[in-house]
Each structure stands twice: as structure tokens, then as C-alpha cells.
Subunit: 340 residues, 4 copies
């Protein structure tokens, strides 16, 4: 049975959502909503059969609508989602889910109470490269993970209502949480704002269970687009570069550190290196957003979110909020050693 | 007049020093010294005219020797340099100069007292790419510097007597100090040791005057060799990649953030982006080590160190020591926000 | 006034054309036509307001249709275009225009006779990188062009009705003809077919006026996608790589050969090299196909094809046919020097 | 027993040979010979124990000398080698061996008659990447080879006595002959000279047994240094790029063309594609020239050339001569199809 959806917000990401959702057979984008009349006219010209409106309530009042997709600025997510859930609609919300952990918790509880689907568009969880990395780790190919280093920079789209942590590190934390299957224990941030009220560059360190740590560098003011993650394990090492050719996104290095045992004392341990082949596993060439869109349509049919549900989104908000608070409390200088 | 030199230590770097010093016309490598007899025999076979010895004092006692070059493990630098300076020899010492700031200060004072030349081989100060970057910055091409991000990783040679900060971040701090012409005000480190007593991965943040900050990632356990530095300015941005083709080491991005003025309030400032050409300035293709070697020979002749003197080396040790101490004091977890 | 268009053929390229044409304001894709009913149903589902048909004549009979866009297999282009022109429709036809020069000439004449617009989708003529290269050459930045070397390979979509020359070299010849503004004088080909009746790998040499020559390597059986063109001039050299980051598609090398004059005889000329900076001019980030689509809509309104008209397409067919015939006549072995 | 060698010629390659030969234990570079007195003085300064001379006969008259290494311009190879062989010396000659096949044959016969070792420095035959490729092919990993495409370009060192084919294609043909184990049946060339009497750009096609063909592009006037070879097989494809990181020189693509059988007729064969992983086998990091040098010293001791003997060098000269003659006879235009 075809599901009727309404897409709210046609800024940067909305058109991508529209393009992917209209490809799904049992799904009908019935409404498009934005406050910009010109954008609505443009949509109407291309898709005369779609309803367009500046009035969100009109959509909530339409009983034929099964779900809303929220692609509006982050600061509006909470109110729009609350209204939709209260209106009996399922909700897909862009990342980051909301601006505070408190908001996130309320949404999760409200969805549960209303029996509505709440899903967050953490698109990377539907990225074939990320899924492949999880497979490799779960199969033990990498050994025990030692550390993860991620860089996500660009001369990017400054956000007015969220900082670079909520904007970009949301991706890194969602990927790491997905592949490790666990939350960080501690988070600490160093950051800086040059032009804005919002922090534009941040370096975040997170401690995960089993002595794994992750370091994340996010920036809106770097000249080069970089989305690269290093995962170092005791057996192998992975470099995941989202911006290379599709067939080369993941490189598995058969490299590692070797310890010559037995050694009588720690001083006698000889540390060596093992260097082997590099392997670039085949990655399916499919747009992750299309898989995310399909997954949402499956979710509202089956009444169960497979991946990236409200709780997952909420856990990411918890991390982002903690990381941002670490920053506000002046972490960046607190324990620095002054030169005297 | 030809200077007579003695080269001490034929591990990883010694052969490179020898190869470069023998190319300098008014310079004669008279002695080679190492505790490994096989290495000395190998040198003797290739260069029968050189004197080889396992006995460092033999060199110090030889009045024909003008200077010694110390390419031994860092933990030996201090004693060997003290002996050489007391023996009336000029000294070139590999980076890092010594293991502690106290040792560094003693050496600088001793060299001054004895009227001897003391130079530290911070080779990057003689790297044509680094010199070009300094030129660009000094000419104001980049505008005001906002932040510097440096990555220096490898599946590297673990050092037994120094950590990865002393080993690798010595390079980053020497480059940054050279191009900024100033020392950091504060330094803070997060790091980790997996296999060793020594820290193998470290993330260091340094605050410089004029609100500039630098972040440095060094690692001995990364599968890919990376030596890349980003310098973000208000007018342009530089990416310096030591490991690309010689003609492409420096990329100058004519990119930046624009603020639309006048604005009545901070909220009304519109932040935009300027994207222009990319420019790869020609870099002279010359081995930096050969320029460093020449500079040392000039220094011991002119009795004045042009660049990278003992004081410079000492300032770098101060930074490295502070960064390492920050780590020991448990900085990495102290101010992290616990999850409750 | 809005133009009504019909899009014929929904194989590989048709969906891209549809996506771009629906973005143009004064243009309406009224019909979609394909022999595959499933594809039509898919279009109908996404764009219920469009008419779909398996019957091309239905479109020709509809007087409201101003133009047809032919994205069908090459072997069908001629018949479909003849019918469209005779039916009073303007025509945009995918490259290669047709299968023979004779067909091309007939189409050009027919379009002229009927007063209809005939344009060929040589998309690269609307590629901002190609346009920038033409600008640089026209301004004399490169000096006199010496030779052009182009590689266009992939593990590609084998075509059944055309060889790799008609499929891929069509792009190279259209680019070269556009930037040089002239046709080749001679063409010679070496090629090979391994799996197919159609040649899958070809090396084509073309001589242009003013002693310029071009060499083109096209292949359907190469593991790596390469679309790279080198343009060597007396003053500078350009490398155009379509598959790098948008900001880096064109590299202008300030490099060249220098001749030391005066020399008493040819033997005495000293040949040297000049090596300078590399410059990556900013290229507008815009999809070339969208510019091509807009240009077609402008053409059918203004009744004048700005770029890539039937005559241009016809000249390309002449080259492709000559190159293919050179192959059939056994050029590849005729003058090879046998080993005895 | 230590072999005494004399190195003749200190232009571009001589210093590299010296650097590698002095590393070999049972080998002594006794003489260095060049017509440039300054170069000899420079060598004398660095290696006071070596004899230097401008007089080649002095070396030939010295009975202690076992072998000469000829690193002089190609046009001098024949006379110097003849004199050396007649003087009872073993000979290592730089590639290309000589200027004509006739000269090559005379040298091979003379070496045989005199019972002397004659080896040609085709360094790529000692390149670990090339050796690895041969292994992969011999083990059948690639399947049947379809075609080989090689590009070797630079803004290079123009040679006065040989064309770009003798200079650069010598490498490609030596590699191909080594990995295929067979000579080409036919060779055909298209080339051009812009500045010089010597051809500076050439495209060479060679037919090998079993329907394999190779295409080689060599150029002295390209702005970018490229040394890349593609080997396409029925099972896999190899890209060998000499100028990437040592660990990434060889990429093995598990890609290929698939034919759906059974098919009733050729028209019914469905051609498909198989795309799998990419694999970068580990390559030993060792300078090929050092392996070549060791191999020569082994050869003059064991009285048997393991690889790259006079006959191999002679076969390469035959190919280069044929390729150059093909060019002189005007191949490039003979069969081109004129536009009328």
C-alpha cells in the first residue's frame, strides 16, 4: 500500500530527499512545504501533481498523510516533530535530530507514547562503505581496534543555529557508534570561533570502552574537502576516504605492529612492523540516501525502525551536547601548561 | 679553508648526513665514529681515506677536528655535546636536541661560554617549501593566520628513548616557530601508548600570540605516511604536503570567508565564501639536508649560526617537554565530560 | 513562451536529459517515449502529468510539440530525426549524431530545407572546463599548440551499433574541434576487437592545420576510468582531467622548451627547459548537461543554434567515419615493419 | 675475490651507478673516467682512493681492471665497448646498448669470441614491481593478455644522439619483452620533432604473438612525469605506476569482460562486466639499480649473465631501430585517410 509523505523544507538537503523518495515505488510525496513561495512554485512547475503549502498545519490536518520528513533548520526540528507526532504522523528528521539532549528524550518518549515511528537521517549508516567496514570489524579482520582518527573539513556552509560539532561531527559519531556498537565514556573538545557565534573548528577526543579512543577534526574553514577516517587495529588498518572514486573508498592495509615474545621484561620487548598488501574491497555503487529513504518507507510499513531510530539519534545528541559543553566550559585552556 | 668534521652515529640518519657533507667542497669528513664495528668497516671499505673509531675521545683529542656532528640516539646527545663543547669543538646535533629543557639550557650556555657554534639539525628550516611558505606569509599573501593543522604519521620507527612528540612533533613545532617567528603561549596534549612505554599517538594543541592556534597529530602507528600542514588565513589558505611531487608540495588556495558589512548587529552579519584559483608555486628541487649541511659549514666558518641555533633548538625542547608533561599529568582525561 | 518537448529513449542518458530539462523554466517535457513499457510506467508514476507513449508517431502528430530529443541507440537516430524534421519538429540528437557522413549530410540539408533547428548533444562543448581551455588558448596563454594527447577509457558500456571510436572519440574530436576551431586534415587509426564485432580499443592520430597533431586513445576494456587531455603549447601546457575534483580539472603548467638563439647552425641550438608555477584556474561548478539543455531551449526560441549545430555534428561524423574506415582498411598492419 | 671496475662517464647516470656500486662488498670502483676534468676533481675530492683519468686507454691497459661500466652518450657505446672487449674487459653498458642493430650484433659476437661478459643496464628488469608483474602473469593470475598500454613522458632531458624512442621506449620494450618472454612481430610508429632533429614525441604500436598488442606513448615535451603501464587480461587487469608510493606501484583489478554462453550466434552473445576488489601487492622497497649492480658483479664472477645480457639488449635495439625506421619512412601519413 502506497504511503503518503510530506516533505518539509527545501534548502540544501530537501531536493536530495525529494529526488530519492520519488524513486521509491510504494511511496508518494504528496506535499511539499517551505516558507519560500518561489521554491514552492518551482516544485509545482516540475511536479504539478504535488500539493505545495507554506502552512505546516495543513499537512498535519490531512489524514491521508502517513509521515513527514523534516529537512528544515535544526532549531525547528523539535517543534515540528512534536506537532507531527501529536498529529499522529510518523517522522523522519534530518541530522542532527534536535539541539539538546532534553529535546531528544522528549521526542523519543512522545513517539513511543503515540506509537509513531521516529527515525533520524544519519545517512552514513546506509553508506555501503560504512556497512562494509562494520562487516570487516565484526568478522575480526582488523583485530582489536586501537584508535580511530577522523577528519571532516570543508570551506563549508556555515550554520546559524548549530556549531560545527552538531553539523559535522554528528556524522563521525554516528559512524563510530554504528561500527563499534557502543557509546563513548568521555568526550573532550578544543574549538574555536573566528567569524561567528558558532564554533567553526573543533577537535574532539572521545574515549570508548575497551580502551579505544577516537579523535575527530571538524572544520568549516578548511580549503579542501576531506572526509577521511582511519581505523587502526592490532591486525590491520583501514583508511576510509569518502571522496575518492567509488571503487577505492576503503583501503585495508595488512600492516601492523609486532611484538617479539617472549621477553623477560618490558624493556626487552622488541617492537617491529609487519607490512603486507593493500586491499580495496569492492563497494556497491548506490546512493546511500536512496537506501535511507527506502529504509524509512519500510519502517513506516513494518512499524519498526531497522537502523538510526530516535534512540540512536538521541544518543548522538547526547555526545554532541557533551562535546559542545566541554568546549563552553573552557576546556581548551583549562589544563594547558602555561609557559613561564 | 677546509673544515675537518667528525660524524658520530651511523644509524638511520648518519648515512644521509655523510652523503650530503661529502658533497661540500670546503669540508672534510675526517672521522666516522660508531659503536658498531661492522658499520665502521663498511665505511672504511667505501671511503678508505676516512678515519674510523669506536672511541669518541679520540676525536675530541684530535686538534685538527673543527666540529662534530651528533647523529646518535637522543639520550646520548647531552653528554656527547657537553664533551665536544668542552673539548673546543663546534657541534651540530640532530633533532631533538636533547631530552629536557634543563639539558638544552646548559648546552646553550656552555656553547656561549666556550665560544663554540651550536646548531641543531631542524632540517625543515632548510626545506625550500617551508622557506617559500614563510615568504608568502611574510609578504601578507595569506592575511592574518587563523589556525594551523598538521598531521605527521607513519608506521614508523619506534624510538626507545623518546616519545612520538619528541620524535615527530619536533618537526611541526620547528616549522611553525620558523614561519610564525614566535613561541606558543600554551600547549596541551592528548596521547596514548599501546605497545610501548613511549606514547605512540599524540594530539597536541598549541596557542600562539595573536589568537593563532595550532593542532598537531603525530603517530607511529598509522598505515599511511602523511606529512601535511594546513595554514588557514583570512585571505588565502595553504596546504603543504611534503609527500607529493616536488612541484606540487605547496598549494595556495585563493579561498576565504567573507563577512558582509556593515551589519547592525552580530546576528545580521552574513557569512559568505570566496572561491578562486589554486596556485602551486614553483619550489626549488634541492635536498633540504644539503642546504642544512652547507649552512653548518658556513656557520663554523663565519662563527655565526644563521638558522636553527642552540637557542632555537632549546625553545623547541621547551615546547616538547611542556607537551609531554601535559600528557603525563593526565590531561587526556582530566577535563573530559563524563557521561552519567 | 514555454516550449513543449518530447523525450525519446530512456536508456542510459535519457534520465539525465529529463532531470536537466525539467529544471528549465520555459520548457515543458510533455511526452516521454520508449519501447519499454515498464520505463514508461515508472515515469508516469513520478511525473503523472507527462504523457507517455510507445508510439513515436503520436508525438509527431501532436502539433503542440515544438521539438524532440533523441536519446535512442545511434542506429535509430537517422530515421527518427528525418521523421521529426519532416514532421516540422526541431531536433536535439545525442552524439554521435548518426552512423554515416551521408546520413549526417542528409539531416543537415533536411533541417535547412524544413527551417528546423538541428542540434547535437556534444555535451563537452558546454563543459565549463572546456570553455575555460578555449579561452586560455584564444588569449594566447598557451602559445602555439604543438600536440594534443587524449585518453578516454573505462570498463565501459559496450555499444552494439557503434564502435568505441563513434562512442568515445566523438567526445575528444568535438572538444579538439571546438578549441582549435578547425577540422583535421588526416586521420589514421589502429584498433582491436576482442569480444565483439565492434572495435573496443583504438588509437587515433589526427593531423590538424598549422602542424598540430592529436593522438586519442579510447577503450572500453580498461579497468580505470580516465578522461584526460594534454595540450602542449610553446609557452605553457594544459592538463585537463575531467575526473578530478571540480576545482582541479584544469592545470596550467608554466613549463616549456627554450631555444637559445642565435645559433650559427641547427646543431648549435641549445635546447633547455623552463619550469615555473602550476595554476589551477577556478572552474564554475555547473552541470554541463544543464547548460546544453538551456542552450537548446534558447536555440529553438531564437531559431539559431549557438554551438554544436547539425553542421558541427556532421563534421564530427566525418572524422569518426574516416577514422573507422582507416581501421577497416587494415591500417594497423599495412605499414608495420616486419621482423625478418 | 674483489672485482676491480672502472666507471666511464659522469653525466646524468654515472653518479647513480657509482653510488650503488660502492655499496657492493666484493667490488671496487678503481677508476673513474670522464672528459670533464672538473668532474674528475670532484670525484677525487670525495673518494681520494679512486684513480681518475681522462684517458680511457689507460684503463684498458691496466690489467687489474676486470670490467668497465659505460655510462657515456649512446653514440660512444659501440667504440668504447669494442675497445673494452678487445682489451679483455667485461662490459656493462647503459641502455640503449648502441645506435644500430648492426653494432649490437657485432658486440654480441665479439663478446662471445673474446669470452667476455656483456650486460646491458635495462634497470627495469631488476625493478621489484616489474618482477612481481611477471610473477603474476606467469602464474596465470591475469589470464590471457589482451593488450598493453604504456605511457612514459616528461619534460625531459633532450638527447642529442638518440631520439625519444631509443631514450624512453627502450624501457617499455625491455619491460614488455621481459614479462611476455617474446619479441614483437611488427612495429609501427607515429612521431614528431618540433625543436630538434630528433623525434621528441612518438606513439608506437607493436604486435606480439598470440594476438597481443602493445601501444607505447613516449614524449620529452609533456609537463607531467608519467611512467604508467596498463596490462589488460581476460581475468584481471594490472596498472603499474612507477611514480606512486612504493607500496602502491601495482594495482591488480579484479575486473573483466564476461561473455554469456551459450549463444546461438555472435549477435546473441551478451557482453557483461565483472567488477571486484582491487589489490595492491606488497613490493619490496629496494633500489632497482642496486640489484642491477649486484647482478653484474655476480655475472662477472660466475661468467654468466642472469638477465639483460647482450643478446637481450640487442633484441631491444632491433625493435627500437625498426620503430625508428617505420617513422623515417613516413609511416605517420602514408595510410592516413585524406579528407577530400
Amino acid at each position: 500500500m502506497t504511503k503518503n509523505l510530506a516533505l518539509i523544507g527545501f534548502g540544501y538537503w530537501g531536493p536530495n530527499l525529494l529526488r530519492n523518495f520519488i524513486n521509491i515505488p510504494n511511496c508518494n510525496i504528496r506535499y511539499c512545504c517551505d516558507i519560500d513561495l518561489e521554491k514552492l512554485q518551482e516544485i509545482k512547475r516540475k511536479f504539478p501533481h504535488m500539493l505545495t503549502t507554506q502552512n505546516y498545519n495543513e499537512i498535519l490536518d490531512d489524514e491521508s498523510i502517513d509521515a513527514v520528513i523534516l529537512a528544515t533548520p535544526t532549531s525547528t526540528h523539535f517543534d515540528l516533530a512534536v506537532a507531527a507526532l501529536n498529529g499522529g504522523k510518523d517522522v523522519l528528521v534530518e541530522k542532527p535530530m534536535v539541539q539538546t539532549l532534553q529535546q531528544a528524550k522528549i521526542l523519543v518518549q512522545l513517539a513511543k507514547k503515540r506509537g509513531r515511528i521516529l527515525m533520524v537521517d544519519h545517512t552514513f549508516l546506509f553508506n555501503p562503505a560504512v556497512i562494509k567496514i562494520k562487516e570487516l570489524i565484526d568478522k575480526g579482520e582488523i583485530g582489536k581496534i586501537l584508535y580511530i582518527d577522523s577528519t571532516r573539513t570543508n570551506l563549508g556552509l556555515f550554520q546559524k543555529d548549530i556549531n560545527v560539532i552538531f553539523d559535522l561531527a554528528a556524522h563521525d559519531f554516528s559512524i563510530i557508534q554504528y561500527i563499534l556498537g557502543t557509546q563513548p565514556k568521555q568526550v573532550s573538545t578544543i574549538g574555536k570561533s573566528h567569524f561567528n557565534n558558532q564554533v567553526e573548528v573543533a577537535y574532539i577526543t572521545a574515549s570508548y570502552p575497551e580502551d579505544i579512543f577516537a579523535h575527530i577534526h571538524v572544520s568549516w574553514i578548511s580549503p579542501v574537502k576531506v572526509r577521511r577516517m582511519l581505523i587502526t587495529g592490532t591486525k590491520k588498518m583501514i583508511v576510509y576516504d569518502e571522496d575518492t572514486a567509488p571503487a577505492e573508498k576503503i583501503r585495508v592495509y595488512d600492516k601492523g605492529v609486532t611484538l617479539d615474545h617472549p621477553a623477560r621484561s618490558i624493556e626487552q620487548i622488541k617492537i617491529g612492523y609487519r607490512t603486507g598488501d593493500v586491499w580495496l574491497p569492492k563497494i556497491d555503487i548506490v546512493e546511500p540516501l536512496s537506501l535511507m529513504a527506502k529504509s524509512f518507507v519500510v519502517s513506516i510499513t513494518s512499524r519498526k525502525v531497522l537502523r538510526s531510530d530516535g534512540r540512536f539519534g538521541s544518543e548522538i545528541i547526547k555526545i554532541l551536547e557533551t562535546a559542545s559543553n566541554s568546549l563552553k566550559k573552557g576546556t581548551k585552556v583549562k589544563d594547558a601548561n602555561s609557559f613561564s
